[in-house]
Structure formats: C-alpha cells, structure tokens
Amino acid sequence: MNTEEWDWETSEKCVAFKDWHQQFEWVEEPYVSPDGEIIAAIVNVGEGEFSICANGNIQESSFEKIWRLRFTPDGRLTALASDAGEWTVTVDGAAWENRFSYVWNPLFSDDGHSIAVSFQQDGQYGMALNDVPWEQTYMNLTDAFLSADGQHTAASVQMIAAGESEIHKFQAGTISAAVNGKAWDRNFVNVWGKAVSHDGARVAAEVRLTLYDYTIAVNGVPWEKTYSSVWEPVFNPLSGKFIAPVRQDGKWMLVEEGQLLWRKPFHQLWHPQFSPDGKNLAAIVATEFGKWSVAINGQAWNIRIGELITDMVFSPDGRKVAVVVKDNERWGIAVQDSVWKNTFDMVWKPVFSPDNTHIAAKVEKDGKYTIVMDDRIWPHTCDAAWDPVFHPEGELLLFRTIEDGVYRRRVIPIRGIWG
C-alpha cells in the first residue's frame, strides 16, 4: 500500500449512502476502500438479481447471487458471484474467465496484487490464483493458504478415498498438502496450518502422524521430534527456519525445528509473530490457567488478562507490541505491558503510526463507533467506521465513517483531533 499517493489534501469527501436505500430493494453492509475513496455494497436490484453499487454507481453486470464483497489491500473491489449455477470472482466489476461449480475463501497477498480462491469443479477441488486454476485437482481440500507475497498457494488435500467408517484406513494417512497444486510425496493423518519460507522454496505445516503424534512437516518431511499437539508454524526470517508452539508434558513451549527456543513453558502459547525486522518474537500466552499475557522473546508481560487476548501487532520498528484484550466482559487495548483505561463493547486491531509513536483503533460503544488514539476517544459517534490510517509521515489520520447516513472520508491533523 503506497499511502503517500493518496489524497491527503482534501479534508472531507462525502457520499450520500443513505440514498441508496431508496434506489434499491435492499442494500447490504457497505465496505470502504483502503484509501477511503470508494464505499461499496451489494444491492438487490430485483427479484433474484444482485449487483454492486460503488459511490452511488451501479456496476453494469448483475448476478443471481453475490457475496464476500471485499477490497484488496491495493483497493480493487472483489466479490464472489454466481449466474446460471456457475460461480466466479469479480474484480472491479469484471468477472474472471474461469467459472466453477463453487468458489469460496478469497485470500489476498499483502500488496493486494494476488487474489486466490478455493474452488470446487464437478466434485473436484483446487485453488485458483489470479484466475489461473491448479492443473491438478483433488477429492477434497481444506485450510487454503496464500503466501504474503502472493506467489504461492497451498492447501490440505485428500489423496486417498476412504469411507467414513474406514477408521483404520484414515489413520494410515489419506491427507497431504498441495503446494501450487502439486501434492507432497507423503500422506499424513491430518495436515493443518501452513507457512512458507520467504524465498518460497519451503512450505511447513502442522501434521498429525498418528492420532497422538503431532509435529511440523517441511516440504512433506516431518521434524524428528513429535509432540502431543502443535499449533501452526511461522517462518523465522533471520534463521531461515520454521518455529512452532508445541505441547509436551501438558505445557506449551516454542521450538525451532525441534530445538527449544524459549526456555520457559506456558499453560498456553499461540500466535507467535516476528517483528518486521525479525529481531523480536512475540506470542500470546497463558502463564497459568485463565491468566493471559503477551510474551516477548520468552518473557511474559506483568499484566494478566482474564478472558481473551487477540489481534497482536508489532510497531513498524519492532520495538512495541499492542494487543486487543478482554477482561471483566469489557474490551480494551494493551500496549507494552500496560492496559489503557478506556474500555469498550468491541475493539478492532490496533494500528501503529509509521513513526511508532501513536496507536489508534476503531472501537464500539453503545451501538456507535468511533476511533480511539493513545487512549483518548475521538468525540464523534458514528453509525459505522473503518480502521484509521496514518499518513506516512504520521501527522495526519484518515477517518472513514458513516454518520447520519452520509459516508465521510476525513483527513484530520493528529494534533487537531483532541483540541
């Protein structure tokens, strides 16, 4: 996302979203482009006929069904659409050439240039990347994956047919991973979450070798050590190896290709994440039953959260971590081992400013939405809001909201927000 090229000059742009409701039979929940220039929604234009309205303009093509309307990170408007019993992907109103019996689970690369979907065609399953389906298809497919650079697709695929009651055949291994359409040479009892090395040469996945032996397999070759459970692997950009949380003797620990990475085990440990420079490693952990925290490089924060920690994010310089927390039935934000005083009915993933000094997030309270930044609440209540976006130099914030039926794209100097 090159946000520098966005319009940061115009202080406010509006679209009369409410008017759409008079124009169409019904209007579904809207989505807004990352740059805030477009608001779009699936609209019903007649019995069994749907289209997409963007900034008040209806797309020319209509379909019997449309769902999963989403903007790619680079601002293209995508949806899954069906006509005459066939499904396809539409991008800015243009349908892919390929048609399928069904498509689902659209995935976008970080830059938005790649779009992948899972498809089913005449009972066979595969993935399609940028309108190019896998040549090889399979009898079933789950856990689809697209690499962050958009170059590689992968999924768990069924290699051997087994009746539901053929439990021992299943336990001998019927599942593998297909990477860019080609299956690994080895089957497993199960294959789940995946990760890819930065050069794209290696794909790792959680696998179950027997009903009891879990490990990570890289390009189909399992680690030597097995565990009573594992969670999904993550690529370590500095070591070039894969890490994963593993469970042993009732505790969770972090290992790198079988070698202990963090000395201290935890009651729970998941969502490990490297900082952008790869130098720091954070994970959501439970230090003991019902007591949640964040561990940085193996050391847990002092705070303990009772209900949930989610949406962990590193600052661009990799020195700070923010998370969404839920405690005593209220949602909030914790940054660097400190919980903000404001609580909400819901909090979305925090966003760091490019200079690492500010943190903002979309929040909900009493059915209305607003933005919180550095634990101070923007004194506007909105009917809808999207994640705030910082200007690359950090002095401006882009707010995307709906107030009184009007979509507003606002550019606000950070210093002016709270007076």
Binding site: E25, W26, E28, E29, N44, E47, K65, W67, R68, S101, Y102, W104, N105, S118, Q120, Y125, N140, L141, T142, S156, Q158, E164, S165, I167, H168, F170, Q171, I175, V189, N190, W192, R208, L211, Y212, Y214, S228, S229, R247, D249, G250, H267, Q268, W270, A286, F289, G290, W292, G306, E307, L308, T310, K326, E329, D345, M346, W348, E364
Partner: protein
C-alpha cells in the same frame, strides 16, 4: 428395528475396539494407564475413588441401572469398579479383554449425564471418571468405530459430519433462497464483521436438517437481530473428540470456533439447540485451552429465545395448541441451569405444558448424549434398553395428556425419537425452534 442392533447383554463386536485391542500389549496398557493416572488425572481421581463408600445412592440416579432392574453392574459405582477402580487397584496391570469391556462400559453405558454426581453425598463425579477411562481407551486406540469416525471428520473438516468447506456456505445460500419465498428480504449474512451475534450450529443441521437453518433465519430476521454466520470452518460448535477422550483434537476444534467468533468481532455466540456442544464450548473445551470462561460469551438457544420473547422482539400469533411436555437436557439444565428459562419460553408459545416427573435438574437422561448415540447402530438397542425408565416416564406424562415432547437438544431429540418409536409412545418430538417458528408472527 435396526438389524445391526444387539440384544442387551450380547457382546458387541465393534471394529474400533476389536482392532485396537488386537494391537495392544500388556506393557502398553500398563504404561498408558499409569501415564493418565499419574500425569493427567492426579489427585482428583484418587480422591474420588478413595472417598466412595459404596452407599449406593448413585445407583438410583442412573437410568441404565433403573432400566436393567437394578442390576448393580449398571450402577455408576459399579461401572467405576469394573473399569477405573480395577485399573487403579491392579496398578495398570490389566489385559486386553479387560480393556475391551472397559471401553464398552465407558463409551456406551454411561452418558456422562452427571445425575449420579448430584445424588452422591460426596459429589463424586462419575462422569469425569468415565471420561478418564475414555481418555485411556483413546490413547490405546480402542474407541468405538462410529464415534471415532466422527472424530476423524472433526479433524479434517472441523465439523461433525464431513461437511466440505464449499457445502457449508452453499447450504446457507440455498436456505436463504428458500426462506425468501416466505420473507422476500430475508438474509443469512455471511462473514459480516462486527455483527452482534455469531450463530453457530452442529454438523447435522446442514447435512440432514437444513430446515433448522431456515427456521433460525426466519427467527433472526423477524426479530431484527444483527447476526452473522461464518463461511469458514469454525461454524460447527459440536465436539465428539470431547467424548472420545481426544483432548488435543477437542482443543483444536474449540480454538477454531472461538477464534472465528473473535475474527468476526461479534459480542456473543448464539448456538442452536444442542446440549453436548454447549458443554464443550461452555465448560470442557474452552478450559482445556486455558480459558476459564468462554472468551466470547455463549448463549444457548433456550436463553436466546427467552431474551427475544421477554424483550418483545418476537410476537406469538397463536400458541401451539397440542399439550406438550419438556425433556430437560442434562448439559443445559444440570450443566447450565436453563430449566426455568425453557419453561418461560414454552409457556409463552404453548397453551399447555404438562410436566414429566422427575424434571428440571432431576430429569432422566435421554441415553443418547455423552457420545453414546454417536457410537452408532451396534449399540442402538443397548441404548434403548438402557432407558426403559425414560419410556415409562414418558408414558406417564402421556397418560396425563401430553402429546408433543419438546427436546431442546440434538442428541436428546434423536435418542428420544428412538425411544418413542421402539416403545410405541407415538408422541411428536420437536425442538423449541420448530414450535416457535410455527407460532410466531412473521413479517411480510
């Protein structure tokens, strides 16, 4: 009756148990038992087993015992004695024939209903002890075939019924289209981030009972609920791994369910009329992962209906006229305390509720729950014979006028259908949602 059904005391040859047992050695059995007793069970097991004074109060609480003419082999204490008690007494030195019988008792002669725990003067939780036996048999690879197959489905598809990833949203879209013939602007909003509620169901609904999804969609739309359903795995709240003793898989399933809700930024998960799934998301599965309480609040359908009716969001056009009785499901009543809310709902939608006895937290189990019905056709008659007392209870309430039997739990529903059919009760077995859909006002 099913040809595969066995007589009550006939030895049932189950491929899952037999093939698993054939691979066992005495050493593996001993090592596995001691591992579970020493590292997973700990003091709790020892305290329970040492505390039991064999007073027999648990026996009268068990529907298997009552249905088998007070045969002590079917009493809860008797079942512990035949399984875990022996394993402890013999320090794990038991043979494969013993383990085969233990597997059958734990998996198919106890519904983990916890009625006995309520009557035990010491509060000994026999359901927990039977779960320990199931854990041991899981680790020994001798879980009954049908429920093991269901656990395999969970492991691949994250749902109970091998519903494929495309089949799930496709089914919801089909039901949405069907329901639009009744409510033209109805929606089943998929992947609507920030909705108030994520509605989750169990695998059989899209597989065999799509009308329940239809009815739920009508209800949600009529009540103006801001809701969504995930289009990804994580939509199924059920959990047979919890009942096979595969705790690791149970945790994986529950993590996906709760993280799906967290991803969708919903404030609550409302679940359909299922009992075991409630136990899994409200008690067992979440806790295995380290969540003391569900990280996203869980609202069972009974409580959800209660709120909608109490708040006036659903209006009743005309109450259901046929006299009804209510079966209190173990997991949501003994386990969740929803019995009075269920009665509030039923009185709001039905003219005449006739109580069966015993009722509320004292109700007899359906004999299907705890994974027993999921052990499949080989055990069907053992299950039906094991709940003669339920049939007697239902005949008694039928004699007082009840014609419709409400069972707000999927396993109860299926198990009671079998009781109903086999014993010739001729009652109409319904979910609350069936009746609510029938009697509610539906906007055009």
């Amino acid at each position: 009756m099913d040809n595969m059904a066995a007589k009550p005391d006939e030895t049932i040859l189950d491929e899952g148990i037999e093939k698993g047992a054939a691979l066992l050695t005495d050493e593996r059995i001993e090592k596995t038992i001691l591992r579970v007793l020493n590292t997973e069970g700990g003091a709790r097991i020892k305290v329970y087993v040492d505390t039991c004074v064999h007073c027999g109060l648990c026996a009268e609480a068990c529907h298997y015992y009552l249905s088998h003419d007070n045969d002590p082999r079917f009493s809860p204490a008797g079942k512990v004695r035949q399984t875990l008690g022996e394993m402890i007494a013999r320090k794990g030195k038991v043979d494969r024939e013993f383990m085969k019988k233990a597997a059958e008792i734990a998996a198919t002669q106890c519904n983990l209903c916890k009625r006995c725990a309520m009557y035990c003067p010491f509060g000994i939780d026999v359901a927990y002890l039977m779960s320990v036996v199931r854990r041991i048999t899981h680790l020994l690879g001798m879980t009954p075939q049908y429920i093991q197959a269901t656990a395999h489905s969970h492991s691949v598809s994250m749902n109970q019924m091998w519903v494929r990833e495309d089949e799930w949203p496709d089914t919801l879209q089909w039901q949405e289209e069907e329901a639009r013939s009744e409510m033209p602007k109805l929606r089943i909003p998929l992947e609507k981030e920030g909705a108030d509620i994520m509605y989750s169901v169990i695998g059989p609904e899209p597989k065999f009972q799509a009308q329940l999804l239809y009815q739920a969609a009508i209800l949600m739309n009529a009540a103006g609920v801001n809701w969504t359903m995930p289009a990804t795995p994580g939509w199924d709240n059920s959990d047979m791994a919890m009942f096979t003793g595969d705790s690791e898989l149970m945790g994986r399933i529950k993590r996906q369910h709760f993280e799906t809700a967290a991803r969708l930024k919903v404030k609550k998960i409302v679940m359909g009329e299922c009992g075991h799934a409630f136990r899994s998301v409200y008690d067992t599965g979440n806790r295995w992962l380290g969540w003391k309480i569900p990280p996203i609040p869980i609202v069972h359908a009974i409580e959800f209906y209660y709120d909608l009716i109490k708040e006036g969001r659903i209006k009743i056009a005309q109450k259901y006229a046929e006299p009804v009785t209510l079966h209190d499901p173990c997991n949501v009543v003994r386990g969740g305390g929803l019995h009075e809310k269920a009665r509030y709902v039923i009185r709001a939608i039905c003219d005449n509720l006739i109580e069966m006895h015993p009722n509320r937290e004292h109700n007899y189990c359906c004999c299907a729950g705890g994974g027993v019905i999921n052990c499949g056709p080989p055990y069907k008659m053992a299950r039906i014979n094991g709940n003669r007392v339920k049939a007697e209870q239902l005949f008694a309430v039928k004699a007082r006028g009840a014609r419709t039997l409400i069972a707000p739990c999927h396993n109860c529903h299926s198990g009671l259908e079998d009781i109903n059919h086999y014993y010739g009760l001729e009652m109409n077995v319904k979910f609350i949602g069936d009746i609510l859909y029938q009697v509610m006002e539906k906007p055009e």
